[in-house]
């Protein structure tokens, strides 16, 4: 494996005493001195800044750009309007997942895709294999820096710096050309925490000025930095899938409960359509559910779930939830068994711990 890369904000993390780890080939802070739990609370109650420059960005342009996206994405890209964003899994023909992505539409011939860091190269190859007609792909991942500003104070902080009104921006919408502290940015009302917030993209050369301005302005709004650890726990509380856990080559978006992002009846044929329709018709033996521990114990990825002696699935993500002060997990379980029981055993180091099956998400922001 090649040497881990530094994002344009690397020196900021070091100055803030972040604990740096190698995440998908990027050197990023897993947490800062305040610690993961406080970073989660800061995000829910105030505001936090995350470096998410590791995310990949791909542009697709041309007359057939939309038709190409309709073929690779399982969601219906034709419903996407200018300055709006759509979440979509991207599937293999067998329904397994290549990645889950965000599709930004600048106009009918110009789209911007945001993909997972670990999948960027694989995705780009997959896109190239599937492209046709008048459509041009560009991997812009190494050109862009990205911050996520998340939490209830995000809008107030960003509005001090942005030359466009943010209050009227809706969720999953973006502004393609905003100056933030004089830096040219794409600003979207999105995030991976379950809180209100923004993701701000700029070219690498503007990254330093962007971070410094947000940091300075954030001071009176109690802005704190947050790392990958908090990000993972926040997304679990909000029950957002993470590739490699809730989505993979072996799992379909229907199993992950992402039905509302799968446009099975889309008019244009797409990768995975037949397989997903079949699965919808015939059912599946593992589907995603929430678990809440009834006994103290930390559920973690890969732990088996049992009812009596029968193994009925596995934990895909689990953690202590600072927001709920409970131990929670997402788990793929046999839906037939779930119909008949509300309690299961979660196996931790060969010992059974009682857990209750719950609805997802665990946490929903009050609007």
């Amino acid at each position: 494996m090649s040497e881990a890369k530094k994002t344009p904000f690397y020196e900021k993390h070091v100055a803030l005493e972040g604990k740096i780890v190698d995440y998908s080939g990027w050197l990023l802070p897993v947490q800062y001195p305040k610690g993961l739990v406080e970073e989660v609370h800061d995000t829910r109650k105030r505001a936090t800044i995350f470096d998410v420059s590791h995310m990949g960005e791909v542009s697709v342009k041309g007359k057939d750009a939309e038709a190409f996206l309709q073929k690779i994405a399982v969601n219906d890209i034709s419903r996407l309007k200018n300055n709006a964003i759509m979440y979509s899994p991207v599937c293999y023909p067998d329904g397994g997942v290549v990645d889950d992505i965000l599709v930004y539409r600048f106009d009918e011939e110009d789209f911007f895709l945001v993909v997972n860091a670990a999948n960027t190269d694989k995705d780009y190859d997959w896109f190239k294999d599937n492209i046709f007609g008048d459509a041009e792909l560009k991997n812009l991942s190494s050109d862009y820096a990205q911050i996520a500003l998340q939490g209830p104070n995000s809008e107030a902080i960003l509005q001090q710096l942005a030359d466009a009104p943010l209050a009227e921006m809706r969720n999953y919408h973006f502004l393609p050309e905003v100056k933030v502290a004089g830096v040219d940015c794409i600003v979207s009302r999105t995030g991976y925490t379950g809180e209100d917030g923004f993701e701000v993209y700029c070219k690498n050369d503007g990254a330093d000025a962007l971070w410094d301005a947000v940091w300075a302005t954030g001071e009176k709004y109690e802005l704190n930095p947050a790392g990958l650890g908090a990000r993972d726990v926040l997304r679990l509380e909000a029950s957002m899938p993470l590739y490699g856990h809730e989505l993979s080559k072996e799992l379909t978006p229907l199993q992950a409960g992402l039905d509302r992002f799968v446009a099975l009846e889309k008019k244009i044929a797409f990768n995975g359509q037949e397989a997903l329709k079949k699965q919808q018709r015939e059912g599946m033996n593992r589907k995603l559910f929430g678990l809440e521990m009834l006994e103290r114990g930390v559920p973690r990825e890969g732990y088996p779930v049992k009812v009596g002696d029968q193994e009925i699935g596995w934990v895909s993500s689990g953690s202590y939830s600072p927001t709920l002060d409970r131990f929670i997990a997402m788990a793929f379980l046999d839906p037939e068994v779930v119909k008949q029981t509300r309690e299961v055993d979660l196996m931790i180091r060969n010992r059974a711990y009682r857990a209750r099956i719950t609805k997802l998400p665990f946490y929903r922001r009050k609007k």
């Binding site: 610690g35 993961l36 202590y320 131990f327 180091r349």
Partner: protein, 132 residues
């Protein structure tokens, strides 16, 4: 020194501490270990009467992100466990040498304790570990 390394206890290379009290040894995690683990949310304690063996896993300490074994610093029989940690595992973070103690063993061989690191030796060891 950014970690609190105290007098009066001995340290292992796995960052446990052991304090001799009469014929028992109190065992816990060093400040360095708790800092590396982060916020501790769960402990799995040995049963009273368990025979622990030096260098072998004897308790499990879990932070939000990680699972860590607590290796026994010495051979012995567990005579008491810190049950307060069930409800307040974070005591290991806030007071690793005090309220965050994990268990007590009846010691078999005092020489094992003498072989562990004292404060100055452990201080040097931690500096090396931290640079890794």
């Amino acid at each position: 020194m950014k970690y609190n390394i105290i007098e009066g206890v001995k340290y292992t290379k796995k960052h446990e501490w052991a304090r001799h009290e009469d014929n028992t040894v109190v065992v816990g995690l060093s400040d360095f270990a708790q800092d590396k683990l982060g916020e501790i949310v769960f402990v799995e304690l040995p049963d009273i009467g368990t025979e622990v063996e030096a260098g072998k896993g004897s308790a499990v300490i879990e932070s939000v992100k990680a699972v860590a074994d607590l290796y026994a610093p010495v051979d012995g029989t567990v005579v008491e466990v810190n049950e307060d940690l069930f409800d307040q595992p974070e005591a290991i973070n806030s007071d690793p040498y005090g309220a965050g103690w994990v268990y007590k063993v009846e010691i078999k061989d005092e020489a094992q304790l003498d072989a562990l690191m004292d404060k100055p030796t452990y201080e040097k060891f931690v500096v090396e570990e931290d640079e890794k």
